[in-house]
Amino acid sequence: MEAAAFYGFSTLAIASALFILFTKNLIYAAFALFLAFLGVGALYVLAGADFLGVTQIMIYVGGILVLLIFGIMLTQKGDKSADPSKPNRIEVLIKREVWGFLIGTGFFIFLLKVIFTSDFRMAGDSINSKSTIKTIGVELMTSHLLPFEIAAVLLLVALIGAAYLAMNRNPTP
């Protein structure tokens, strides 16, 4: 049962990623990325990371993907002569396919070689099925306190920087 779920969600994520790679319509690519993120979140849950799965769905799907779709919307060329009854296609030119496939498959083969030739000696037992939220909270407040606060400062800096960059988008010279 668990193996079936794992392979099903892995297939979903990889098929969605391949669809993003081959499609020419950017909106379809964004929705396929939605499916890929859901598949990856399910893989987190299968690996025993319940809090991280929920976080993935909330932040990636609820935040980042909506932001990307807003970006697609804001960077469109508006055709004034477009037929409004036609579906809106955002064509993305695809170039350098040969280089992309060569580098992608080459890197994949290299990673497979690394995975199959390495001998992982796992110390400690596998995760037990209790919730990870307590452990994550305690670790964040004790041994990972400095990265936690640096992340807070980083989010503030990113917010201010993005607001500063995005205002006056079309400056009048």
Partner: protein, 103 residues
């Protein structure tokens, strides 16, 4: 307790990372490149979570994945702001056409 070996998680992560790299290379649209980068970050997170299965006491991999998600959110906001500025300046989203040098 889980029956799935760690190599399968690593293979899924490697496949997603390679596909994301190919997306970031082949798409000629700034937001398409961002989609590829997000996919690569997710593949790395799969690896971190898979290794974190064998560390149930400290969960270092899951914490690191959490910080990766936070940094990815910050990165996307700033990248979108930059993309909007570049689009306002050059009126294009093709990285090959963003150039002020003579052809």
């Amino acid at each position: 307790m889980t029956s799935i070996p760690i190599q399968h998680y690593l293979i899924v992560g490697a496949a997603l990372f390679s596909i994301g790299l190919a997306i970031a290379i082949t798409k000629r649209h700034f937001i398409g490149i961002l989609l590829g980068i997000e996919l690569m970050l997710n593949a790395v997170n799969i690896n971190l979570v898979a290794f974190s299965r064998h560390d149930p006491e400290r969960l270092g991999g899951q914490l690191f994945a959490l910080f990766v998600i936070v940094v990815a959110a910050a990165e996307v906001t700033v990248a979108l702001a930059i993309i909007l500025r570049v689009y306002g300046r050059f009126k294009t989203v093709d990285p090959d056409k963003v150039s002020e040098l003579k052809k």
